[in-house]
Symmetry: C2
Subunit: 352 residues, 2 copies
């Protein structure tokens, strides 16, 4: 993802901000009950509205039928959060519009006719909403959405009716995880219409201490109110995390630096790395970089490593679907090469 | 120790070969019962035989009274196995002659009047014996040793009577440790008049899988027979260890390389390193280097790191006696700097 190298506000804590909206076309049955010719009609109509058009400065929309996308590429799209597993499973009728900067993705014939999202680096929900709104307008200029005066946008699943919007913030919360404040935070969040889940890994512990916090409800408040609610809460969490990082560094002293540098040492030298361990070391490294402990290494550098080490990132390099020990070995190689490349480019920047 | 950068036979398994002999001067009471003026007489006489004389090509003997040696330096001498703790405790009367390459050390007024040793890199007991023999002859040319026709050299403690010789080989046996053959080997050794002990650390597990194997008996066989006996046994252990290393590498595959590289990564990046962990990583690294896994890194490089990371090595750099967390932090710094230096000199060699 090219945005991964862009910095963003509060990048020390926030990896990405994401807005997703669901839309359906009036007078065409919902995907769950539509015929193949309906699907083809939806795909062609949405394509016509966006294909080759400008998403933002320097970026235009590409179009692909999922049936034409190779298996590895499909998995990569899913892992990059640019498309859902559901879209892949409906590959006979589904399609995707993707802007060349991979900030905006428009899924066609998933659960709804249209599911579009904007994902931006750092903490910028409002900017994501603005961009997505513009794309929404481009489509609406050509097509009539299924809309109800009282309910708002109609969606296949009732939980999305209304704004049809889900806004989410992906946060790196290692210090709040270590000092055990996360459970209380997750509990509070659930009481104000928000939800949080680990974004990588299974089970209760979020791999790499990365959490996605998003709005649970879509009906009632306006889009702006929903985004505002999420923004206020995330801003508080960001501050809590920053305070916790400083406190952690102060109380653990050299042990803190040691853990960060060892994580760096392992990532730079390991010959096999499973995903769980990889995420733990990346999290440790990211924490250290956010505190300025690794000179010349930026948060963008760490985040690009994190993406490169995910299964899809690794398979993109190897060019084939692998798993188990094979992918662990390939991951170690991919990460070593990526770190070497970063160090090399840093050296060249210095000399240049 | 300047010999540490010399390579030696079977250096992949053997760190050093050491011969030590005990001698007493006839007509002077043993140290345990002698008067201060006897001690002064012994020190002056032995000094006269060796001081400023040639130990080998390019190396002469220096002389020091232990009472004149600063505390840190005393500890360094002990940890380098160039002097004993006993010599330090008898500092009022004890002295040391040391050749400038630190291969030959002659302790004066320790348990016996004279305890001299030769320590060489790698597996070369016979060469060590030759060198020591020459020094022994230099002293005997001036002084009369306490010698008994039947018993041989007389020593303070009866266990040293006879040849007064202890020969020992310091071996790195990580693969035999991992595959659990060490216990059987230690058991066998004890039955043929040899003894083995971990050279670093306390307890049953030898820190860094480093063992010192030496002759238990001194009376009966000649020096040559004792050395020959030890040589034959060590040669077998060397072969066993080499076979075990290959087997271990074959069965564990990438995990083997991974462990070696991670050890390297931690040593190069840690901010605090306790001695136990340090020895474990050094052992792992040494094993890898012996298999050619870390290009450009030699066994001599690893052994110089091992010495640099011992308490005395660290304190030599910091210039003061430290312990606990302070020495762990200092150790990490010393090792990082030493690795950087090695990489730098390797780079210069390449470019030069």
């Amino acid at each position: 993802m090219s945005w991964i190298n862009e910095s963003g506000p509060a990048r020390d804590v926030v990896l990405t901000s994401r807005i997703r909206i669901a839309r359906n076309i009036a007078a065409v049955p919902f995907p769950s009950i539509m015929q193949p010719h309906h699907a083809a009609e939806v795909a062609e109509k949405v394509k016509k509205s966006l294909y080759n058009k400008k998403a933002e400065a320097g970026s235009t929309f590409a179009f692909m039928y999922i049936r034409d996308v190779p298996a590895v590429e499909r998995q990569i799209l899913v892992e990059k959060h640019l498309a859902s597993q559901d879209l892949m499973e409906s590959y006979e009728t589904s399609a995707l519009l993707l802007d060349s900067k991979e900030k905006i993705a428009v899924m066609i014939n998933e659960e709804d006719h249209i599911r579009m999202q904007c994902i931006l680096p750092g903490f910028q929900l409002n900017q994501a909403w603005e961009k997505l709104n513009r794309v929404d307008d481009m489509i609406e200029a050509d097509l009539e959405y299924a809309f109800h005066e009282q309910l708002g946008y109609l969606t296949c699943c009732p939980t999305n009716v209304g704004t049809g919007m889900r806004s989410s913030v992906m946060m790196h919360l290692p210090a709040l995880t270590v000092n055990k404040q996360m459970n209380a935070i997750l509990h509070t969040i659930s009481k104000i219409g928000l939800t949080a889940r680990g974004i990588y890994g299974e089970g209760s512990e979020a791999a790499g201490s990365i959490y996605q916090i998003s709005n649970q409800i879509t009906l009632g408040p306006s889009e702006e109110e929903l985004i505002n609610n999420l923004t206020i809460t995330c801003r508080q969490i960001i501050e809590k995390e920053r305070i916790a990082r400083k406190a952690l560094h102060k109380t653990t002293g050299i042990q803190f630096d040691d853990a960060v540098w060892r994580a760096y040492g392992v990532l730079r030298n390991a010959r096999t790395l499973d995903i769980k361990e990889f995420m733990a070391y990346i999290s440790q490294l990211r924490l250290g970089v956010s505190m300025g402990l690794i000179p010349g290494f930026s948060l963008e550098d760490v985040d690009s490593l994190m993406t490169a080490g995910q299964p899809a990132g690794v398979m993109k390099k190897t060019g084939q679907i692998i798993q188990g020990r094979d992918i662990d070995e390939a991951r170690a190689t991919v990460i070593r090469d990526a770190v070497d490349e970063l160090l090399e480019s840093r050296k060249n920047r210095k000399e240049g």
